[in-house]
């Protein structure tokens, strides 16, 4: 039985990294992580092939809950004292309540969107694999990392990535990047 190993390739060029991802996918590899200092739609396209993020369902669920809650809180609380109708409006008055319903839709929808992002993006990720905690990835470099590649595949992955213009291909504990002491 083969054990799991880490393999990491660091790139200074976007096209090289994309070529690396493309070749890995063509060779049938999965389970690798791509890192970038900015969002690039090319990465999204190659990794997710145009599939929309499920965050949208969170947004819609939140908006529906907000709308319902807005309607509920206004009509139920006013129905508690149905004999008091300020401004001569009916007890359950759709027009003035529409403002509260609108605000509740936006509020709960936005909060659910944030929640959806946190769940699907795996945040907070304070304990993410150490090989991915590389400060170069928030600076100007791109990375492809296997946090659990099979040791049988290690050599083939290293060879493949080395031929795609990576400036550094490391394995095992060498994938851990030490922050230089000259930072601000």
């Amino acid at each position: 039985m083969s054990s799991a190993v880490r393999v990491k390739a660091v790139y200074n060029h976007l096209d090289c990294m994309l070529t690396g991802v493309d070749r890995l996918k063509r060779a049938g590899y999965t389970g690798f992580t791509v890192q970038a200092p900015l969002p690039r739609h090319e990465i999204e396209e190659i990794m997710y092939e145009g599939r929309p993020s499920p965050v949208r369902w969170w947004t819609m669920t939140g908006a529906i809950i907000g709308l319902t809650a807005g309607w509920g809180i206004t009509s139920l609380t006013h129905s508690t004292w149905p004999m008091i109708n300020p401004g001569g409006k009916p007890t359950v008055a759709p027009v003035p309540f529409a403002v509260i319903m609108f605000e509740a839709t936006i509020l709960v929808g936005a909060l659910f969107t944030g929640l959806g992002m946190i769940v699907h993006a795996g945040l907070p990720s304070y304990f993410i694999d150490r090989s991915l905690r590389d400060p170069r990835m928030t600076d100007g470099s791109f990375g492809i990392t296997f946090t659990r590649a099979s040791s049988a595949q290690q050599e083939a992955i290293v060879e493949l990535l080395s031929k795609t213009g990576a400036v550094e291909v490391t394995t095992g504990d060498d994938t851990f990047y030490e922050v230089p002491n000259d930072r601000v």
């Binding site: 200074n12 976007l14 096209d15 070529t19 991802v21 493309d22 992580t33 791509v34 890192q35 970038a36 200092p37 900015l38 969002p39 090319e42 990465i43 999204e44 190659i46 990794m47 929309p52 993020s53 965050v55 949208r56 206004t74 609380t77 006013h78 508690t80 004292w81 003035p96 403002v99 509260i100 609108f102 605000e103 509740a104 936006i106 509020l107 929808g109 936005a110 909060l111 969107t113 944030g114 959806g116 992002m117 946190i118 699907h120 993006a121 945040l123 990720s125 304070y126 304990f127 993410i128 991915l132 590389d134 990835m137 928030t138 600076d139 100007g140 213009g165 922050v179 930072r183 601000v184």
Partner: protein
């Protein structure tokens, strides 16, 4: 080789861009270096303002609302004027960050983070005022619905309650949108710092590592946040305007108020962005990222909204004449009478909001930093007086001549106004020194990506 699309490579008229992603990080990270004397003086000045405001509020809590100048019939004075002013200032941030994001406006990149911060701190400032105005500020939780023994609930048919919900929602959504936008940039700050500072940024960055999974869901969520925030920009000040327009008070009861208030809010907000960013870009040397191109676009927004405001001011007079309503006609005539109690405030408002911005129709003045700064400051003064003119003059000159009264703010109210300005600038200055006030990630999107060309 995989295809790489270059985003916006050599568009003319843009500010100088950094050559690499790393250069962007280094430029923006310079704010973490030792603060300059100018910055420290700014913080000291803002803090002094806060102390004056705190002392004034303390006096009001100790001696009661009598120390504030508000009295019958002018029960809404400087506190509500300043509340509406700061809510208005808070508008431009979300307009720039959300609406301009959805329409893919290119000039927003350099200015949107600072504008968003301005929004959050301006709404934080605005939220102080309903509490101040309550007098018994410890009862502020009565604003919100909470379960209670006698089942006494809020009146959701009241525009004042709509306002509570509108502003709370706007603040919450703005903070979430602002924070989500900051996460990748705080991660860059974390990776360039050490010790406790690194731990601080590390916690706030939520362990962000720029993985494809994180970016994918982040970008989807960001788009939805922008879509949610965009209608909020238009709705919040509309709801604020209904605080007035729903009342039968002469000078307030007008259907033109929502668009009029929204235009005014965007006008004052964009002017405040100029007033804030210009000294900041000199202080932190951000000229590569924020420069005349951005200021000129902000000035154009001000010119448009100033035109809308001027039209609205004129239309109010037309409607009062056309309505044949003597109370409406009287209040508008009285406001514009130079010798009347607040005639000076009316003409100051017209000068600041309608005449001064005309200077920006000259490209030379629109692209001159001194002229931009001066006119933006004039607009901010004018927009405070616009609210003063609407709120105070209508209440002081209501239906019954027997109740007419002259209101002038007390020194406590002036102290609170100074305090609110200090409070706003204090938070903004702290933010600009500790966090990326220029959006690192989006600036990187403007940089030509590093491409080798052959693999």
């Amino acid at each position: 080789m995989a295809h790489v699309e270059v985003i916006d490579p050599n568009d003319p008229g843009k500010p100088n861009r950094p050559d690499t992603y790393g250069e962007t990080n280094r430029d923006i990270l310079r704010v973490l270096l030792k603060p300059s004397v100018g910055y420290m003086l700014g913080v000291l000045l803002a803090f002094t303002g806060m102390v004056i405001g705190g002392w004034s509020w303390y006096q009001q809590i100790t001696w009661g609302m009598g120390v504030a100048g508000i009295t019958h019939p002018t029960m809404w004075g400087v506190y509500i004027v300043t509340f509406v002013f700061w809510v208005g200032i808070g508008h431009a941030g979300t307009l720039i960050s959300a609406i301009l994001y959805l329409v893919r406006s290119k000039w927003r990149t350099g200015v949107y983070r600072a504008s968003e911060a301005m929004t959050v701190f301006a709404v934080m400032t605005a939220l102080l005022f309903p509490v101040l105005h309550l007098g018994r500020c410890w009862q502020a939780y009565w604003f919100f619905p909470y379960p209670n023994q006698r089942q006494l609930w809020l009146n959701f048919k009241s525009p004042l309650m709509w306002d509570v919900f509108a502003i709370s929602t706007y603040f919450t959504v703005s903070v979430v949108f602002f924070y989500v936008g900051l996460i990748p940039d705080i991660a860059a700050f974390r990776d360039h710092s050490r010790g406790l500072v690194r731990k601080f940024y590390g916690v706030l960055a939520l362990g962000w590592r720029g993985t494809h999974r994180q970016w994918y869901h982040y970008m989807a969520a960001y788009g939805f946040f922008a879509a949610f925030a965009a209608p909020l920009v238009l709705s919040v000040h509309s709801v604020v305007s209904w605080d007035f327009a729903m009342a039968p008070t002469p000078g307030w009861h007008s259907t033109i108020f929502p668009p009029y208030f929204v235009a005014g809010a965007i006008f004052s907000g964009c002017a405040m962005v100029i007033s804030l960013l210009m000294p900041m870009s000199y202080l932190f040397d951000w000229h590569k990222y924020v420069n005349t191109w951005h200021y000129e676009n902000l000035a154009k927004m001000c010119m448009l909204t100033s035109g809308i405001l001027t039209y609205a001011y004129g239309m109010e007079y037309f409607v009062s004449w056309y309505s044949q309503n003597p109370y409406e006609q009287n209040i508008f005539l009285w406001r514009a009478t130079p010798t009347a109690a607040y005639g000076w405030a009316f003409y100051l408002m017209v000068f600041c909001n309608c005449i001064a911005p005309l200077a920006w129709y000259s490209k030379k003045l629109r692209t001159n930093h001194i002229s931009l700064f001066i006119v933006a400051a004039i607009v901010n003064v004018g927009m405070w007086f616009e609210r003063f003119n609407i709120i105070v003059s209508s209440l002081a000159h209501n239906f019954d001549p027997a109740t007419w009264w002259y209101y002038w703010p007390s020194y406590i109210e002036w102290g609170v106004l100074i305090g609110s300005t200090g409070w706003f600038f204090f938070w903004f200055l702290l933010f600009a020194k500790s966090f990326p006030a220029i959006a690192l990630t989006e600036i990187k999107e403007m940089v030509e990506p590093p491409v080798k060309g052959s693999v």
